[in-house]
């Protein structure tokens, strides 16, 4: 294939992605400096930084930032820890491992709205939900999950979906671990923990880093799970940045301040993306 043809073949994907990136991005930046209310278009005009100021001084802003970080941090801690433990547990052969693997990764393929409603109703309902039935069985008072611990409940729901993802990635990379090295270590009398710290964990270092960063990208924009369970409430106790911007945009019809919020979200995601691209770049062979 000659060079010119190769360029022509590459052009469509590059141009389309360039448009997809630049046009909406520059519109967001532009709108963020404008007064632009969908219901009062006659009021529009340049307002400088005031949308940012408005968004930044909104009493919901800091709680939303804190909730976003707590949500991302907790889900990461839970999924990486459980993912590691379960992946190592099922790494050795046992009866029915094939079926168990398929069952373990299944929650990852459940759509977010189904996931959220399934937990909201059939698991977490304070009267008929399974969790409350179980806690009554043990003589405890059932917890009103979504009313009393809204953010924690969402963390649980998201973790249930993403632990399988961590299991799948860790399981896959455990298969490429050097088995002879492991056996040699066993013969030398190394115990489980010694092998874990000195062989398994270093082998999984990159997959762990990748899992953390991929999940950060996704969890910074958790949305559907919040919309169908708590709608960000009670108050702002389960509102994250994505949900706050969504409210501002499609309930408040305020394009200007939603765009200013969008710029905040983009900056937050870019900090993560920078490290992610660096980590992936090392592995990409051309």
């Amino acid at each position: 294939m000659n060079r010119t043809l190769a360029r022509w073949l590459q052009a469509p994907s590059i141009i389309l992605l360039l448009i997809w990136m630049i046009v909406p991005l520059s519109m967001t930046v532009y709108f963020s400096t404008q007064r632009y209310l969908l219901q009062k278009p006659e009021l529009s005009g340049f307002v400088g930084w005031s949308n940012y100021e408005y968004f930044y001084t909104d009493p919901r802003f800091w709680p939303a930032i804190v909730n976003t970080l707590v949500l991302v941090g907790s889900v990461l801690a839970i999924t990486v820890f459980l993912g590691l433990a379960i992946a190592i547990l099922i790494d050795r052969p046992f009866p029915g491992r094939g079926i168990a693997r398929v069952m373990l990764i299944s929650p990852f393929f459940i759509m977010p709205t189904v996931n959220a409603l399934l937990w909201k109703n059939m698991m977490m309902d304070p009267i008929q939900g399974l969790l409350s039935v179980v806690s009554r069985f043990f003589g405890a008072t059932p917890i009103e999950w979504l009313a009393d611990f809204p953010l924690f409940s969402i963390i649980l729901i998201v973790s249930w979906q993403w632990t399988p993802f961590a299991i799948l990635i860790f399981m896959t990379s455990l298969q490429s671990q050097d088995q002879e090295q492991m056996e040699a270590a066993t013969l030398d009398g190394a115990g489980f923990w010694a092998k874990f710290w000195n062989l398994t964990l270093p082998h999984l270092a990159r997959p762990i880093a990748i899992v953390i960063m991929i999940q950060m990208i996704f969890h910074l924009s958790v949305f559907a799970e919040i919309l169908v369970t708590t709608s960000g409430g009670p108050g702002t106790s389960s509102t994250n940045l994505t949900f706050l911007i969504y409210q501002e945009a499609l309930f408040g019809f305020d394009v200007g301040s939603a765009s200013a919020g969008g710029v905040f979200a983009i900056i937050l995601a870019n900090i993560v993306a920078y490290f992610l691209v660096k980590a992936i770049g090392k592995n990409l062979t051309v």
């Binding site: 997809w20 046992f94 709205t113």
Partner: protein, 276 residues
């Protein structure tokens, strides 16, 4: 107890723990499956019923209470359409990048991946207003276009890796025989890459089928996918657990099976090729 007995005991315990964990994690899905065969009364019974007379009424009556068929159709069209469009753009590009890489190929690929990290909510307003301007709000066309663009980087990455794994010697041999570029693609490369292409497409369909943000933000009644149909159950229809479960099972079962078949691509696609 001898060492061998100890080892056997240890294996038994590990297997038991593994199965307990598996059952705990899978249980909500199993429970949803059971609930979908209950009557509404049985669904909310306390204590919950494990044994009951199953009914398939929830499935047979689904289309009377909801617009299930319309939403399922929208889901199929948007996820398959978005995937097809993205594959159409990605196959030639990834092919050229893999077999005729230039100085910038690696940087271009990394840049493509970085567009995937742009948070959807950051460009919500522009996309909403552009769709509105072209009269595409609440249409499947808008979703197909957006879906193809959000999956294009992942598809590029997986296809690039596939094409690179095809041994160069085969291509050189066919070139020596004087095969034209077109024939090289259709008769040499494609038969080898076919399986890879199919599973990449399946993975893309899985991801788009479950896409929630754009589906909820840009559609209302006409182009809503199953994701937004289920979202509308949040209240007050959510009280009908048996029907909710039946709709959910129908919405998730096919895609769960696709997901099982595409584990390998999923790992590659979602880690952008960094874990294989």
């Amino acid at each position: 107890m001898t060492d061998k007995q100890k080892e056997i005991l240890k294996n038994r315990i590990a297997a038991t723990v593994a199965w307990i964990v598996t059952i705990l994690i899978f249980f909500p899905i199993f429970w949803m499956f059971l609930t979908s065969f209950k009557t509404e009364g049985q669904a909310i019974a306390v204590p919950p019923l494990l044994l009951f007379d199953p009914t398939i009424e929830n499935y047979t009556l689904i289309n009377e209470r909801t617009d299930y068929v319309k939403h399922a159709w929208n889901s199929i069209i948007t996820s398959v359409g978005g995937t097809a469009l993205a594959m159409l753009i990605a196959i030639p590009s990834a092919y050229a990048m893999a077999f005729s890489p230039g100085r910038w190929t690696k940087d271009i690929l990394l840049w493509m991946l970085s567009t995937k990290m742009l948070p959807a909510v950051g460009v919500l307003m522009p996309i909403y207003l552009i769709s509105q301007y072209f009269g595409l709000l609440d249409t499947r066309i808008a979703l197909v276009i957006i879906y193809s663009l959000i999956n294009l980087p992942i598809i590029m990455m997986i296809l690039f890796n596939y094409f690179r794994e095809i041994p160069k010697e085969i291509l050189e041999a066919s070139r020596m025989d004087g095969t034209s570029t077109i024939n090289e693609i259709t008769q040499v490369v494609m038969p080898l890459a076919w399986g890879g292409l199919a599973s990449t497409a399946l993975l893309s369909i899985v991801l788009l089928w479950n896409e929630a943000f754009w589906s909820i933000a840009l559609t209302s009644g006409d182009a809503g996918t199953l994701v937004s149909l289920v979202a509308s159950f949040s209240s007050p229809e959510g009280l009908f657990w048996a029907k909710l479960s039946a709709v959910s099972m129908l919405a998730c079962a096919p895609i769960m099976i696709f997901g099982w078949l595409t584990q390998k691509q999923l790992v590659q696609g979602l880690t952008f090729g960094a874990v294989k």
